[in-house]
């Protein structure tokens, strides 16, 4: 023992060092656990999306090939539509002419787009008739939700009422739907909801009886109703998203059936792009309105951060000082990255997912372009190039400055409707970065790290 005494101070220091190292490891492990949980939830949401897609395609295939001797209503319909196409071709000359032209120059992309835009202008062509019908159906399912904003939400579940209303309207509105009735996802069952409510109330009575301090049952019931409403809206949205995917698949296949010459990789891409544009433009507003109801909480968070950071400088959201002029006088009547902000604001004025995605890509390019113009010309561009470490803070700043909380819903909708093939490339990178920046902005007003938001579940 006495021998140890003189060494004690060094020992202490050693222990202190060890303890510090241990604490560091502990906090790292804790962070890792949190990240894992977040990642897991996100992955689950993704799996669900892929599973939904798989199921959707499976259903489609089953319907198509179920028992060759028995004709499904879809096959029947497909045949009927094809018969319509043949009839149309007999009555009109233009399809023959275009087909002959395209046969001579099969790789002429201008010819392909010419044909498609001509087709889109012929409202009597079966493809266009189908497009109108499918559009009408989606619109019909969206419409009843629109005039019922949150104002009435305090009374009995107004939104879910309109949801079930919309479904019944749907079924009445479209004769072709009756055949599909079984495959249409069931509307949120209102009777069940009431059962749940009753059960909940009885539980409430039971549990609050012995409680000396009465809680506020009215309030809890209200939150319960809100929750029911939310889940009804989500179900409805999911069903509509699925419907739209189906509609576009059907349109594409009829289009290719009508013009076999379009059935090349490039031709198909062009077809999808044009059909989508025609399909989405008139329905985007009501569709977005539904997304906005579902993503309301996130938009509110975005709004809160927006108000809190109204006068923020890029540095306040972590943009490196070298990436914007420190002296505001250098940008009279303007602010850093203003042109990128304006570009992003354009997104809400487009009505087709692909165009919106292009807008996001332009925003990012614009942002980096601004940065390029500020660079010291002596520094070679490669050493000063912007990586993700710099990109995300700038993008967050740009998103904040748009003052458009609806970007949250717009991007969520894009994730649903943009083709997976695009998501590996530059467009996908831009969309992913945009979503990350939005989540970060949403988290700003809480002062915490961004929470994890799964897709609507």
């Amino acid at each position: 023992m006495p021998r140890l005494r003189p060494k004690a101070p060094t020992d202490l220091r050693l222990y202190w060092k060890k303890l510090k190292a241990f604490l560091k490891t502990l906090s790292l492990q804790r962070q890792m656990m949190e990240n894992l949980i977040i990642a897991k939830a996100r992955q689950d949401a993704l799996h669900r999306k892929m599973e939904e897609r798989r199921l959707r395609l499976q259903e489609e295939a089953n319907r198509r090939f179920a028992g060759s001797d028995m004709i499904t209503p879809e096959e029947q319909e497909q045949r009927l539509l094809y018969a319509n196409v043949l009839e149309y071709d007999q009555d009109h000359d233009w399809p023959k002419l275009w087909k002959a032209n395209l046969k001579k120059n099969p790789n002429d992309s201008a010819l392909v787009s010419g044909l498609i835009s001509y087709l889109l202008s012929c409202s009597e062509h079966p493809v266009m008739k189908l497009l109108k019908r499918l559009q009408y159906r989606v619109y019909n399912r969206l419409y009843p939700i629109l005039p019922a904003p949150r104002g009435l939400a305090h009374s009995v579940s107004d939104a879910s009422l309109s949801v079930s209303l919309s479904v019944s309207r749907d079924l009445n509105a479209n004769e072709e739907d009756s055949a599909r009735a079984q495959t249409t996802p069931p509307a949120p069952d209102r009777e069940n909801s009431f059962e749940d409510l009753e059960q909940y109330l009885s539980q409430l009575d039971w549990s609050s009886a012995p409680d000396s301090a009465p809680s506020q049952p009215g309030l809890e019931v209200e939150t319960y109703i809100t929750r029911l409403e939310e889940s009804a809206l989500k179900d409805h949205l999911r069903a509509i998203v699925k419907d739209i995917h189906n509609a576009i698949d059907r349109l594409l296949s009829l289009c290719l059936l009508s013009f076999e010459c379009l059935n090349t990789a490039a031709g198909k891409d062009q077809c999808v792009a044009c059909l989508e544009e025609a399909f989405f433009c008139p329905i985007w507003r009501p569709l977005l309105a539904l997304f906005r109801q579902v993503y309301r909480e996130r938009e509110l968070s975005f709004g809160a951060s927006m108000r809190l950071y109204r006068n923020a400088t890029p540095a306040d959201v972590g943009v490196a000082p070298k990436l914007f002029p420190e002296d505001p006088a250098l940008l009279p009547g303007s602010y850093p990255y203003e042109s990128a902000v304006q570009e992003l604001q354009h997104l809400c004025r487009e009505f087709c997912p692909q165009r919106k995605l292009e807008c996001i890509v332009r925003t990012l390019r614009q942002m980096l372009c601004v940065h390029g113009s500020m660079q010291d010309p002596d520094v070679p561009p490669s050493t000063a190039a912007i990586g993700a470490d710099d990109l995300l803070p700038i993008l967050s700043f740009v998103a904040l400055r748009t003052e458009l909380p609806q970007l949250v819903s717009e991007c969520a909708a894009l994730e649903e409707f943009i083709h997976e093939g695009y998501l590996i490339g530059e467009e996908g990178y831009c969309l992913t970065s945009m979503q990350s920046a939005l989540s970060y902005v949403e988290s700003l007003h809480t002062g915490k790290a961004p929470p994890h938001y799964p897709r609507f579940t």
Binding site: N35, M50, A385, G387, E426
Partner: protein, 219 residues
């Protein structure tokens, strides 16, 4: 863009690679070196160093790489999963003079393995070997750890342009092996319509006939 690939050999592989690493480990310069080296600057896209593409030809097979940079800052970490979903490979960069950055790599490895399983090919890269005098992560530790998690380990210097080509070449070869094994297990194209793994897009260059190309040789 969605379909890609034209002319030349029969197949083009498209791979997505995410780049992970703490703020100042030099991952941006690493990837820039790789994409601009030898070739001209046109490989640098309009998104500068955050998203890069590169076309390669490995053993007669064409490979398109899409390299996704991610933000290293802690406050963006929660958003990592949306970046690395559907990735075929990941390059995890640390700074050999900074032990913390190596610890971060370990965290990411665990996360990636947990989320994406063994399908994703990992490459761990110790950058800044030009500063070997200040090394704080021992070669042995790093190599042993990498082996234990099924990752390959490389040392690079973005400054001196050392070892970078090798990192990407090795990763590409391994991603191709995984993709080929995947094809084989799918039963040579007979039931291709199933749940083909996203991300690995194998594009046949000949225009598709209505029935779809039948055989799909795995060699």
């Amino acid at each position: 863009m969605a379909a890609g690939g034209a002319g030349g050999s029969s197949k083009t592989y498209s791979f997505k690679v995410v780049l992970l690493g703490e703020g100042c480990v030099g991952k941006t310069s690493l990837v820039l070196r790789y994409c601009e080296n030898k070739f001209n600057d046109k490989h640098i896209t309009t998104l500068q160093a955050s998203f890069l593409t590169k076309k390669l030809n490995i053993g007669g097979k064409r490979v398109n790489l899409a390299i996704w940079d991610t933000a290293g800052q802690e406050r963006f970490h929660a958003l990592g999963p949306i970046y690395y979903r559907d990735s075929n490979g990941a390059i995890l960069v640390y700074d050999i003079t900074d032990e913390d950055s190596f610890q971060k790599v370990k965290n990411w490895v665990k996360e990636l393995r947990k989320m994406l399983g063994n399908e994703i090919c990992l490459c761990i890269v110790g950058n800044k070997i030009d500063l070997d005098k200040e090394r704080h992560v021992s070669v042995q530790d790093a190599e042993e750890y990498s082996e234990s998690v099924g990752a390959t380990h490389y040392h690079t210097s973005a400054k001196l342009n050392k070892g970078i080509e090798e990192v990407f070449l090795d990763l590409c070869k391994r991603m191709m092996e995984v993709a080929q094994a995947d094809e084989r297990s799918k039963g040579n194209g007979a039931s291709q319509s199933g749940a083909a793994r996203r991300g690995v897009q194998i594009v046949d260059d000949e225009p598709q006939t209505a029935t779809g190309a039948g055989c799909c040789s795995s060699g």
